[in-house]
Amino acid sequence: MKRILLAAAGLLSLAGAVQAATLDDVKARGALNCGVTQGLPGFSSPNDKNEWSGLDVDFCRAIAAGIFNDPTKVKFTPLSAKDRFTALTSGAIDVLSRNTTWTMSRDTTLGFNFAGVMYYDGQGFLIRKSVGLKSAKELQEASICVQTGTSNELNVGDYFRANNMKYREVIAFATLDETVKAYESGRCDVFTSDKSQLAAVRLKLTNPADHVLLPETISKEPLGPLVRHGDDQWFDLVKWTYFALLNSEELGITQKNVDEMVKSENPDIKRLLGTDGKYGEGIGLTPDWVVRIIKATGNYGEIYDRNVGPATPLGIERGLNNLWTKGGIQYGPPVR
């Protein structure tokens, strides 16, 4: 049923693909419509000042800063995992920056384009120390707590099948909080979710030291922002906003020093910050679009450190999400 609805939605959106460009709509509206989660620690959640904050949120702020020179010109629409694609297809939002895994079917048949990978995640297992397991391969006959409706649920099945193992049962709960409490109360032996979420889960456990993360990562979860098919200019804009964040970090341009950097003689920096060439115009913006973005949100590393990095309660190391120059796989194509 859901598939049929999505297909219908896709057809209708194809019919509407000849409409005005998204960028023009956004400019006319005076704000970017951005879909985020209904609350996911480190990625999008309301802070004490009643503002949305998080990695996914900051990405939308970066787009808005590039367009309007004002990171507050974003209207955030909190979406559940079920509704996120319908909202994007129907045009209710311009970009979905909602912790969404880049998969082939989503990129193709559902009619979306992924603009990049803001966060390389993978599914892991959290287990009580007292159980004494060292590897996910030993999880034979385990009962597993998982959040329902997520790809985590499917991955567990795949992993056990691929390794010729059997679990006792998979117990699925509607929300993360319920799953955590169930795991903590001993309803199941092991808790599985994306590793970024397991970091958040540990914060909620009464005795975090009693639980360990198993070393295996059983799935690839490249999480990134996505847009609708049918507007390539808008796709480029979102994609290059992401690359601009990466390139700025690589070139050492930060929120603090961006004004100095504008005066830099380094040709890469000059091209990126628009003092040489007019690359911003290629995506419908002015040449100094990156200056605006970095002033508003900082580069990728700053966004990471502010929301999920080691200094935050989540305390997640950069790992795969480090730049390619520092042992990670975040890599921004050159501006030229």
Binding site: S45, P46, K75, P78, A200
Partner: protein, 469 residues
């Protein structure tokens, strides 16, 4: 005492015993009065009663002390982030994490409503309370005026305050029919074109009403129809003027509303709309006019047959796909309409139950004294029927109040939704945050629902004089 003639004990007059002191009345034995009697009668009257009592005491013992310990004794009262609520940082068991609630209180009451505009929400809260309370207290005067203020004026004022008004209306009846005045005069705000449209439409509609009624009911009917149309459109004009005028208040989209504000807006709208509509539907369903009857049946059965979640989902995400171009309806408004239609259908069945409980004699009696059917319903049947179903009506209200949490699935954060979102702030993630939050939300919901429940019981008692034994 069969033998009457038996000699009486002789009384020797020399030493009669006469008590000189007045004996104070003694209290009844301890076991037959006061708390002990009460306990014997109500708690320890029989073996099953004793067992039940002991079970009750045990139940209280196992639930209440831990709750008090968690929410009060072990609770943390101040702090600026999660560190304040961590057992390993404090070196003692930690109960409720109240600073989390203080930090998120604004979020829970106003949602994302801009901080500089929150006074508007406060005014709406207080104005609502000030108008509603005297309406509920029977002994206070000016009920009619009060009702008009609460049901008529207050919604308009609340709408303008909360949204900022300044709707920029463009076309009225003639505009939609194709005669476009929207270009006349001011291009924005209070458009002259719209009001030209309005006045002309009013003239036209009045004329039509007059013409039809005159044709059907003679000159008298024509005049009264024209008067009715004029007064309805006159009131409407005042309302439209209020929402159209530029008050200078910044606009606040409903997308930014949240927390208790949304819960109350949906609940109050649902409650105030569902009662009159429910009554109309219930009457319609019993109508002798087949068309009306079947329309009502279809309406009621449709809305009772479809889950609210489905309707909310379709209205929010599928409707935009089918509507042309940039035509959008506000998200909260869609949820409001959905909830109101739903509640009306349920209410209709409750009211119908009441109508069926009224004996036929009441109808016949009313007809015998010459009441027309409208008056019969208004003066004889409905007052009795509604009184009978007060528990059912309030049950619906309470259910509706709690159903408002369903709007979370269409991304509207009501009180519970705001709370759930607040849980995800990593700065406040701690083992007890979840319990604190749900405990707090539970208390708020309880206060409202218990309030409604108590008021309905008081109302029943007051209206039940005739049948009290």
């Amino acid at each position: 005492m069969t033998d009457i003639s038996a000699p009486r004990p002789s009384i020797t007059p020399a030493t009669p015993f006469v008590s000189t002191a007045f004996h104070e009345p003694q209290p009844a034995p301890v076991s037959t009065r006061g708390p002990i009697l009460w306990a014997r009668q109500h708690l320890f009257g029989s073996v099953p009663q004793v067992l039940l009592t002991l079970f009750g005491i045990w139940l209280v013992y196992v639930t209440v002390p831990p709750l008090i310990k968690f929410f009060l004794i072990d609770a943390v009262w101040t702090g600026t982030n999660r560190d304040a609520c961590l057992a390993e940082k404090l070196g003692r068991p930690v109960g409720a994490c109240w600073p989390f609630i203080w930090a998120k209180l604004d979020q829970l009451i106003y949602g994302f409503y801009p901080a500089s505009e929150r006074w508007r929400v406060n005014v709406v809260y207080w104005l609502g309370a000030l108008l509603l309370l005297p309406l509920l207290i029977q002994s206070l005067p000016y009920k009619r005026l009060n009702a008009i203020a609460f049901f008529g004026v207050y919604p308009v004022v609340a709408f303008v305050l909360l949204t900022g008004g300044n709707l920029d209306l463009q076309r009225f009846v003639l505009g939609w029919l194709g005669v476009d005045f929207s270009t006349i005069g001011g291009a924005q705000g209070l458009r002259i074109g719209f009001w030209v449209d309005y006045v002309l439409s009013t003239v036209l509609l009045t004329a039509i009403a007059f013409g039809i009624s005159r044709f059907l009911a003679g000159p008298e009917g024509g005049r009264s129809a024209a008067q009715t149309t004029l007064s309805v459109l006159g009131v409407l004009a005042v309302v439209l003027l209020a929402v159209d005028i530029d008050t200078g208040l910044p606009q606040v989209e409903t997308r930014l509303w949240g927390g208790l504000l949304v819960t109350l807006v949906i609940a109050v709208t649902g409650i105030t709309v569902s009662l009159p509509f429910g009554i109309l539907l219930a009457l319609g369903r019993r109508s002798k006019l087949q068309l009306v009857k079947w329309l009502c049946i279809i309406f009621i059965e449709f809305w009772r047959g479809v889950p609210l979640i489905t309707v909310l989902f379709f209205a929010t995400y599928m409707l935009p796909l089918f509507l042309p171009g940039r035509f959008t309806i506000d998200g909260l408004l869609r949820a409001l309409v959905g909830v109101a239609l739903f509640a009306s259908a349920y209410m209709a069945e409750v009211v119908r139950g009441g109508l069926q409980a009224i004996p036929k004699g009441q109808y016949e009696g009313a007809m015998a004294v010459g009441l027309r059917s409208g008056l019969m319903m208004r003066l004889v049947v409905l007052p009795q029927a509604l009184k009978l179903v007060i528990p059912g009506i309030v049950n619906n209200f309470i259910g509706l109040f709690k159903d408002t949490t369903l709007v979370l699935i269409v991304s509207i954060f009501d009180l519970l939704g705001s709370m759930r979102a607040a849980f995800t702030d990593p700065n406040w993630a701690s083992p007890t945050t979840l319990f604190t939050g749900f405990g707090f939300a539970g208390i708020i919901y309880f206060v409202f629902c218990f309030g409604m429940s108590r008021y309905s019981m008081a109302l029943e008692k007051r209206l039940d004089r005739a049948q009290r034994h």
